[in-house]
Subunit: 151 residues, 2 copies
Amino acid sequence: MGALLPDQSPFALPGTSAELEEGFALTPKFDADGLVTAVATDVDSGDVLMVAHMNAEALTKTIASGEAWYYSRSRRALWKKGETSGHTQRVVEMRIDCDQDAVWIKVEQISGACHTGRHSCFYRAVPLGKAGARLEFRDERVFDPTATYKK
Amino acid sequence: MGALLPDQSPFALPGTSAELEEGFALTPKFDADGLVTAVATDVDSGDVLMVAHMNAEALTKTIASGEAWYYSRSRRALWKKGETSGHTQRVVEMRIDCDQDAVWIKVEQISGACHTGRHSCFYRAVPLGKAGARLEFRDERVFDPTATYKK
């Protein structure tokens, strides 16, 4: 599949709030940059693995292939999760939220989702009730990022 | 606590990537609108309940109180979850992601998180492998939104 031009989105434009919320059509409400927020959770543990973005093409490829594709805002590029590291995400289920500007995918994560080497990007806890308290590391590395992403 | 002016964020500015990723200081990377993405999951089921945003004040209030506060982009206002509906979120744990532009809170959700009456905003599944397929409703309402939000 070639790259989609901005006017080639396969999705219909969002309708009214009632249509967005109670309808049967996937009509994503892309933001000004053409993106929806994408949250990936581990299908077994329920842990949030990462928060990223999808444009129309990433969403289309994810739905079609059952593998997670994203759009990198910093690199301005479509990106298959794991294309460099091998740490792909098989999508078990996809959900869309009420106003259709966010998707939730439950995935089987090969190795770790985080480029720092952890299973989840959310490897530090913020203590509650204590302003300015130190972050608490909760997760060990599951892979060596210097070996995985070496040039 | 009064409203925070934009220059009154209690958080230090983000440092280098290494400091953001491996440091012990919470230095949120707010976007151009002064927001981080916030994902709330149900502490028992692991289900994603909602995706929203926090500004510095919402984040500060959430950490201090252990109750979820957000910032509404559409209403341009700080917002305590459940202030109208009574459907508050008690925060059991907060996590910050590698580059500190997203927080994950595990919450005890009173009734439902979604203004449409469902427990989660993600009440519809997107079938995989079938472009243009109808969304599948998965969750029933747990409250009546017309009664909850009546004027």
